[in-house]
């Protein structure tokens, strides 16, 4: 999923690439702050681990994708909107969400034989992503219809 084939062209490409990199850095900082905050919380919140960043990042990404798809149907939607969506989608959401940390958390639970945390995190992530993605997508459609 590069996203750069979504109606962006010309000199905008270089600007978008720089913005993508900056967005990924900003998303990573946001992830570090959220996970540090979660790490200092109670056992229940800590057990969900990286779900605290993966779920909201996935929900935001789904909302952006639906928003972009709906806007494409409207005449006069420029490439600047497509560029903004790509930067937020691939840069910020991509930088904020992570598979490597989730894999490490799950691998540590496997090694420690901690089934409770393993199940809690897997189920929490799946349910959170399902709810977040479909909820955010539906909310965007409703907002666009009302607007």
């Amino acid at each position: 999923m590069t996203g750069l084939d979504q109606g962006i062209g010309g000199p905008l490409v270089a600007t978008v690439l720089v913005a993508l990199v900056v967005g990924a850095g900003a998303g990573s900082v946001l992830r570090a702050l959220v996970l540090a905050r979660v790490g200092a919380s109670g056992d229940g919140a800590r057990s969900l681990g990286s779900a605290w960043v993966n779920v909201p990042a996935s929900a935001l990404a789904a909302a952006l994708l639906v928003w972009q798809t709906q806007l494409r149907l409207l005449p006069g939607t420029g490439s600047d909107v497509a560029a903004l969506v790509v930067v937020l989608l691939l840069g910020v959401c991509g930088g904020m969400s992570t598979w490597s940390t989730l894999a490490l958390e799950l691998a540590r639970s496997v090694l420690a034989g901690d089934r409770r945390v393993l199940v809690l995190q897997a189920v929490g992530t799946v349910l959170g992503v399902l709810g977040g993605v479909f909820g955010a997508g539906f909310a965007v459609v409703v907002l666009l219809l009302l607007g």
């Binding site: 702050l33 996935s58 930088g95 598979w99 940390t101 490490l104 090694l111």
Partner: protein, 137 residues
Amino acid sequence: MGVSEAHDLPAPGWRAALPAPDVLLAVGLGGALGGGVRVWAGLLGPQAGFPGWAVLVAVNVLGALAMGLLTARGGRWARPALTTGVLGGFTSFSGWVLDVLRLVEPTPVLALALLVAVPVATVSACLSGLVLGGRRA
């Protein structure tokens, strides 16, 4: 208690747990690098004949393996810059979710395969990295 005295009190627990600004800077720079490499791979992959979803699978599995290998290494800046920054920014959970959603309608079998295979592959890769790195969590 005056205002100045209140400011001298130690920060509450969760605030004290937040990373220091220099560590956050290292994470941000690492994340920018990792995210840049992910986008670069996403651009080059299709040109080399690989579909976008395959590139992201490779990125996530490779990132998980590297996370297992590197998680216990490095110092004050190197460790967060490499693991939380570079590898966290390199891999993408939201990209995987969107790839699965996009593939559900045209190729449901592939979407289901991605849904099941990526978690198994990334966790297996990370376990391999932990074992190869000689550091069990």
